[in-house]
């Protein structure tokens, strides 16, 4: 395929603006997928993605389009996630493209992630084709949205296709405009090979399958290749294009093309997303510019519910990490929970997704601890520590001061909810920066917020205060000195390490009280009364009591029933086994998670 006839692009959008639906239509319209094969939102092929209606992992697919000018074009569509936590994935996908379709909902207009993703695309020098979606909605205002895009982002919208992805209106327009707006790839097929790894996953039969974009040169089956960052050397077993239903093998891929590669790669650590592949015969001297490195912002402990599954958990995390470079993990131990891993995530959603994938795809039963951000601790002796686990916080007497991460937060919302949003941000120790009107009814509010105030339930709180209309994005601004304390939770007088967390001094009391209440709900009554205490230093700041169990009895127990009654007792014993024994107290695994959802 001639380079001039190739177009590599992503689709970017705010969540729910119809990105995946448009992708489905493009596949359908070009005959890449027949109606019969068409499942809704074909590109979201993780079960979890379908359920949540969001794209988590990037996916790529190759489409052949016969244009009105009579020529055939190859479109490589690289799907991107739409959530703030996954900006990294977006950035990774964008690096493999020359352009992007910016999908904007004609009834909603620009949202926080529309902007965030657009800026990311512009950073990668991509050409952007705005697409106005959902024009068939009664509330659609395409002209106003076009104007908004022109004013806020500065993109020309005069030619923007007006479509309904859901009902297949004007999809042809999009397919045609791609040729005009998005430039073909460049790159010399005869130069030394430079192939960018933008995604990968593990297949138990073929080993690691690497998704690549060839920037320079050509790779053939049988070539010996080297991963430039890790130095690992392999021989190419299979190359091919990414069909939406199945892979289509080919003998070579050359500059400008997008496809996959297998090379009997068994160790997941040998292929890093963002690495450059070259050949050993004619190596490139420099790797491609790496991706923007992202650092995890939220940490938590993940433990197998059954200690014997420790190795399984490690293997599962390693496999997830293979195509999720933002996921970090290292071993840690907890008195309460045993052996597990300290894991780092981009944000709370990322954390939840990883937990769910571990549970569903790897059938693991997990216990997770309260999430924490990374704090900077400066000790009196001048030593500086980075603390992502409250358990590792040195004694207060040794600490000179502490710093916490502060983010720049942008919230977009109808102006009716400004009061509610400000109240929420104020309550979360936010500092108001400024506010501007996007149009007559919509505002953009800027706040500085401590990250540890938004990792618990900020999204939910924001949604419920704005009837779901507000959107939210944030980026790390700086570390700032803060009056922080460690809050411990004690069960029957014993501190439970997995329940400790670091919190602003002014928040310690309400949070401790809430935690105690939540634990009281989560811990079942037992043979003895259980005091639950929240303490800072040695000072108890809140207390609840789980009353002793009073009724747990089989009233009727005669001959024939023994088998059945025994089964009831067996079930009860099984239930006890699933709980964590902390001192004399049995704590259900849910208790560790439920306390994180401290509702208002």
């Amino acid at each position: 395929m001639k380079q001039e006839n190739i177009r590599n692009f992503s689709i970017i959008a705010h969540i729910d603006h119809g990105k995946s639906t448009l992708a489905d239509r493009l596949l359908e319209q070009t005959g890449e997928v027949t109606k019969r094969e068409m499942e809704e939102q074909l590109l979201d092929n993780m079960e979890l993605e379908r359920e949540r209606g969001i794209t988590i992992k990037a996916r790529a697919v190759r489409i052949v389009y016969k244009a009105k000018n009579g020529e055939e074009y190859v479109y490589n569509l690289i799907d991107t996630p739409g959530h703030v936590d996954f900006n990294y994935e977006v950035s990774r996908s964008l690096a493999a493209c020359e352009g992007a379709l910016l999908v904007v909902d004609a009834s909603q207009g620009i949202e926080a992630q529309t902007l965030a993703n657009t800026y990311l695309a512009l950073e990668h020098d991509l050409e952007i084709l705005p697409v106005i979606n959902k024009i068939d909605l009664p509330s659609a205002q395409p002209d106003m949205v076009k104007e908004e895009i022109e004013n806020v982002i500065g993109l020309d919208c005069s030619e923007a296709p007006l479509i309904s992805a859901k009902n297949g209106i004007n999809i042809e327009d999009v397919l045609e405009q791609i040729i005009n707006v998005i430039p073909p790839p460049e790159g010399d097929p005869n130069a030394p090979l430079k192939a960018l790894i933008f995604d990968s996953y593990y297949d138990s039969y073929r080993g690691v399958i690497v998704y690549i974009r060839i920037k320079e040169g050509t790779v053939k089956v049988g070539d010996e290749i080297r991963m430039m960052a890790t130095g690992a050397v392999f021989r190419v077993v299979e190359l091919g294009y990414l069909g939406s239903i199945s892979m289509k093998p080919t003998n070579e891929l050359s500059a400008g093309e997008v496809g996959y590669l297998t090379a009997s790669i068994k160790d997941v650590h040998d292929t890093r997303v963002g690495d450059t592949i070259t050949t050993t015969a004619n190596p490139a001297s420099e790797p491609l510019e790496g991706y923007k490195q992202v650092n995890p912002m939220v940490f938590c402990g993940i433990y197998p519910a059954d200690g014997a599954k420790y190795d399984d958990l490690r293997d599962a995390l390693a496999k997830l990490q293979l195509n999720d470079a933002a996921l970090l993990f290292e071993p840690e131990t907890s008195v309460a929970l045993g052996f597990g891993f300290r894991c780092g995530f981009l944000g709370l959603l990322h954390m939840e997704i990883i937990q769910e994938r571990l549970e569903r795809e790897y059938m693991l039963d997990l216990v997770t601890t309260a999430p924490s951000v990374v704090y900077h601790v400066v000790k009196l002796n001048g030593e500086t520590l980075q603390i992502d686990n409250p358990t590792n916080l040195p004694p207060a007497a040794e600490i000179d001061y502490m710093e916490e991460p502060i983010v720049d937060a942008v919230i977009m919302s109808p102006n009716d909810y400004v009061g509610n949003i400000m109240e929420l941000c104020q309550d979360r120790r936010g500092v108001y920066k400024h506010m501007e009107y996007l149009d007559k009814t919509r505002v953009q509010i800027h706040y500085e917020l401590p990250l540890n105030e938004i990792i618990y339930d900020f999204f939910d709180a924001l949604k419920s205060r704005t009837k779901g209309y507000a959107s939210f994005d944030y980026s790390l601004k700086e570390y700032r000195r803060s009056d922080l304390v460690k809050l411990d939770m004690l069960l029957n007088g014993e501190a439970v390490d997995a329940l400790s967390f670091i919190v602003h001094k002014d928040k310690a009391y309400p949070r401790g009280r809430k935690m105690a209440e939540k634990l009281k709900e989560a811990i079942p009554r037992q043979l003895f009364e259980i005091p639950i205490q929240a303490s800072v230093g040695n000072k108890v700041i809140a207390r609840e009591t789980v009353k002793a169990l009073r009724k747990d009895v089989l009233a009727k127990c005669y001959g024939g029933d023994i088998t059945r009654k025994k089964k009831l007792l067996e079930k009860q014993k099984e239930g006890k086994k699933r709980m964590r024994q902390i001192g004399t107290v049995e704590v259900p695994q849910e208790a560790f998670m439920s306390v994180l959802k401290l509702d208002e």
Binding site: L527, K556, C557, G559, Q572
Partner: protein
Amino acid sequence: MNNQLFGVYLHIPFCLRKCYYCDFVSYPAKRNQEGEYIKALICEMKQYHGKRVDTVYLGGGTPSLLCEESLEKLFSALSSEFDIADGAEITMEVNPATVDRDKLAFCRRLGINRLSIGVQSLSQAELDQLGRLHSPEEAVSVIKMAKSEGFYNLSADIIYGAAGQSRESLLYTVSGLCSLNALTHISCYALRCEEGTVFGTRQKAGEQIEADGDECADQYQLLCSALAQFGLERYEISNFCKKGFSSRHNMKYWNCDPYIGLGAAAHSCMDGRRFYHTASLEDYMGNPERVEVEETLTDWDRKAEFVIMGLRLQDGFSEKEYERRFGSSFAEDFPSQTERFEKNGLLLHRHGRYSLADSSMFISNSILCEFI
């Protein structure tokens, strides 16, 4: 083991109407089925010919629904098939709505010497709530009649822990029954919504049927102390009696002694195996000897059952008896449990017996499950 003494249970699965809480196997009473069912029971009995028996228990269902002819046939078969010991305890469950003086006198003449009367409550409202067909007055008059017809060993069932049931009304039921000076035994059952019962269905639909756990525990405490004042001491979690009047048949279950269950869904246990029949009336009558499910009990099954059943009793079980049966010591078989529960006072060890502390009785599941 040839001189083993068996308990015999006969299940009579007919009822006028199913009570809302009942999950025992029973069917609407149809006269034409009764004769055939009795025949099946007698047929099943024959395989145990010659076994020595010292307790017989007619339960249900509603055994007091059986006509005199059926009862007569049943008892003549019992005495010809089994070697029934002198002074054997022969109990029949009685629904107050189903008997009159003549029937009671007839039962006495047959050799029945103990009645377990399903009183449940002396409050009409509560009886209606439970789906019982009799009034409090009928229950009281049946007890009086039974006494005058020569039944000196009488038991009554009481239900507590129903939503809306008050402690006052419970006390009224207890004192009303005890002041009749006729009862030697009372069984008190905390209402429990079982799946497949009317209550079970209603509970699933969101109705509150059971009282909350704390209220139920309070009522249990009240029952224990009220019954003690009338001379009825607890000898098992739910059973209270005058001295020497424990249910000898039920004691066999709690002591893990052998028993023969006859009839649909009835369970038998002997020689380390437990087995039972189909619950279907037609299938049972078609082949009364067929065993539906049989379980072979391992040593550990038997040990665990001996402990969890024995600890239901006020006096618990004897460590000597444990050693005699299993050839090992209880404390060595269950070292961590024994140590932990003894240490925190939930399990008592005295006079060569292990038993639960009084305060552990109503939370016994949390302790017993650790021995499984």
